[in-house]
Amino acid sequence: MIQLRMPQSIHQEMRSDLCRSHPYAFERIGYVFTKPAGESVLVATGYQSIPDQFYMKDNSVGARIDHRAIALAMKRADVNKEGILYTHIHNKRGLPIFSRDDRADHPNFIRSFRNAAPGMTHGFLLLSTDKMMARVWLPQHESPIDIFRYTIVNLPLSLNISGGFLI
């Protein structure tokens, strides 16, 4: 089982950024960067907000970003040897589920992320207003794995089972 640990500072920065309104996109996108800690744990090392001007005007989806936004993540992943989690939020409570549009975009992003850091785990982190889940591709694996176990590291510790925070 893969699990994700994230310091509260990154968790807070991520949620604050993704909840901001955008001049024309319906939602925001960000990147959480990770490194492995052993074989079955991913630890979050940072969050990257995407500048407003890197969003494309496309009313057919919640948000679409251009090549500059993707390059932003790829550069950091390459330099720091990190994995990339493309992150956005669905403004509902409960365990979030990737939409059909989300899933359709996954292969292209994964291809780009793997070009930048082929040995790292990449994927997508989806937040709701109170929970989150992730879908990740391990290096050299074609099928993704869904992550439901998370810990937000703080005082107190927020342990999670099956996508729901215990605290």
Binding site: P7, P36, S40, V43, T45, V153, N154, L159, L166
Partner: protein, 268 residues
């Protein structure tokens, strides 16, 4: 809430879930570690990763909880004694027993939600804290010692330290520093007889377990204000927040977020 948890239901509605899923690491199962394991098992934690490579001897019987004279005669590993203690209370507990130095097989520790360290020496502690910081795991360290003062009176002292990623570490509070590490290196191979008794370990283990319970349950509602460094004075019979807890800076400059995770070298 299960019937077993009836008397501790005040800890929170999610107690059953936490006890069922939380994975606890305990490194070192001597005087301190055996008491921590005992208390965790009584509380009802179901999942453990235990490290100890030592076998019990006569000299351990004064403080190793759960041990018997028979265990000494059979030269039982300390791991087996802790496992027996847990299974006596929780027959279906999931326990990984690792009979090695933790440094020789660290990956099991990285899956833990909380790690207790009951180790000898500063270097050992520094290395374990470094691993837990990299893996973003709260690490709770306990230890005690007895040394004679200038009047040749034994002074018993100890500490409980919770090293929480994002908060001050053992180096921030100067519990670990270059001087103590250098002294330890110079004294390598000259450990002598290290005085140890059972009752201070009870105080330290109980404080550490209480701290962990607030960390996972926040039953006080004030976990954000939790004391993370306690000092124990065995001569006075006191345990209290260390004076350095009042220092103004709450940020750690020794373990930076960008250094989190395993070290990845070269083209990945």
């Amino acid at each position: 809430m299960s019937a077993r948890n009836n008397r501790q239901s005040f800890l929170g509605d999610n107690l059953d879930d936490v006890l069922e899923t939380c994975l606890i690491g305990v490194v070192g199962l001597g005087g301190g570690g055996s008491q921590i394991v005992q208390q965790l098992a009584h509380i009802g934690f179901k999942n453990y990763v235990l490290y100890d490579f030592d076998k019990i001897t006569d000299t351990n019987l004064n403080r190793l909880v759960g041990a018997t004279k028979q265990d000494v005669e059979e030269e039982l590993p300390k791991l087996s004694i802790s496992e027996r203690l847990i299974r006596g209370l929780l027959p279906d507990a999931r326990i990984s027993c690792i009979s090695k130095r933790w440094q020789d097989q660290p990956d099991n520790l990285k899956t833990c939600d909380i790690i207790f360290g009951c180790l000898d020496g500063y270097q050992n502690r520094a290395e374990l804290e470094s691993l837990t910081r990299r893996a973003l795991i709260p690490y709770i360290d306990i230890g005690m010692d007895v040394r004679n003062d200038k009047n040749n009176i034994p002074r018993m002292f100890g500490q409980v330290f919770a090293s929480i990623p994002g908060y001050p570490c053992m180096r921030c509070y100067d519990f670990i520093n270059a001087t103590v590490l250098a002294k330890e290196t110079l004294a390598y191979g000259d450990a002598g007889i290290r005085p140890q008794v059972v009752w201070p370990n009870s105080v330290l283990a109980g404080t550490a377990v209480g701290l962990a319970m607030n960390l996972v349950m926040n039953w006080t509602g004030k976990c954000a204000e939790q004391t993370i460094y306690y000092e124990y004075d065995g001569n006075k019979g006191t345990i209290k927040p260390h004076v350095k807890c009042d220092m103004p800076s709450k940020a750690c400059n020794h373990y930076k977020l960008e250094n989190t995770g395993d070290i990845v070298l070269g083209r990945n």
